[in-house]
């Protein structure tokens, strides 16, 4: 059963928000605010979420479908520049299995009255564990190319 493998994936998502960088930053920095959007799929039950938002601080979040497995996110903050940048690493577990280790970089830039938001995730997926998220992230690059191709064809 223990077939060890690694798969590397990088993806970038950019978004524009109407809210100013300070408000977007707060949605990451304030646990009550973050709880309202940083959650699993709607059909999952309530999750456990703790955060110590400072350089060297940790964040843990666990939850999952009723019948399992438990999805556990364990993060460590490496760099925080207020209203501008957040860098953290995180591990993802499915029950006891570590399925991925990632480096996330969030960058906020003022754009008009709003914010140009960018997240870059660089991950190594371990041993081919196939959670939906992992699959989604892993295939995203391909899907985007395909979506582009479809769009051009449409």
């Amino acid at each position: 059963m223990t077939q060890h493998s690694t798969q590397h994936a990088t993806f970038v998502i950019e978004r524009d928000y109407d809210a100013a960088p300070a408000r977007v930053f707060r949605a990451f920095a304030d646990l009550d605010a973050k709880r309202q959007w940083f959650t699993g799929p709607a059909e999952w039950g309530p999750d456990e979420h703790a955060m110590d938002f400072r350089i060297g601080g940790r964040e843990t979040n666990s939850g999952g479908p009723k019948d399992g497995p438990v999805h556990r996110f364990e993060a460590l903050y490496w760099d925080i520049v207020e209203n501008q940048r957040i860098v953290y690493t995180y591990e993802m577990y499915l029950d006891d299995a570590r399925i991925s280790v990632s480096l996330s970089t969030i960058e906020l830039k003022p754009k008009g009255k709003g914010t140009a938001f960018r997240i870059t995730e660089q991950a190594v997926h371990l041993d081919g564990h196939d959670s939906p998220e992992q699959r989604e992230e892993g295939t995203r690059g391909i899907l985007e190319q395909l979506a582009d191709a479809l769009k051009r064809g449409a």
Binding site: F11, I13, R15, Y17, D18, A19, R23, V24, A27, D32, A33, Q36, W37, F38, T39, P41, F117, I119, E121, P132, E133, R135, E136, E137, T139, R140, L143, L146, A147, A149, L150, R152, G153, A154
Partner: protein, 119 residues
């Protein structure tokens, strides 16, 4: 839903080739005869026909023969299903960022000085 999956496999397999994507792109502008479709490609007609067979097998295109001319057309439904599948698989982060946007918009609407009550 169950017999829908193999069809998707074939659609994506069919699209996983630059020549076939170029053919789909060409057909997206309207029906084209096989010989016209083959013309821009530096390959033999049998090779072109093989690609067209894969595309037709996936349901992405249909062809019909009128007299001596075989004409291919796009079947938009198969493309639509492929696109829908992608839309449903939006990454966890895409969904989270949608929710972040909703949260920021809702917060803006209810903005009152230091109001502590929340849902």
């Amino acid at each position: 839903m169950l017999n829908y999956q193999p069809a998707l496999d074939q659609v994506y397999a069919a699209l996983a080739d630059p020549t076939r994507r170029a053919m789909v792109e060409r057909l997206s502008h309207g029906p084209v005869s096989v010989s016209d479709l083959a013309q821009p490609f530096a390959m033999s007609l049998p090779a072109v026909l093989q690609h067209l067979q894969v595309l037709e097998g996936s349901g992405l295109i249909r062809s019909e023969k009128q007299g001596r001319v075989r004409t291919c057309r796009l079947e938009p439904k198969a493309l639509q299903e492929a696109e829908d599948w992608i839309a449903r698989r939006r990454s966890l982060w895409m969904r989270r960022l949608d929710r972040l946007g909703d949260f920021l918009a809702a917060e803006e609407k209810t903005k009152r000085p230091r109001n502590k009550d929340r849902k």
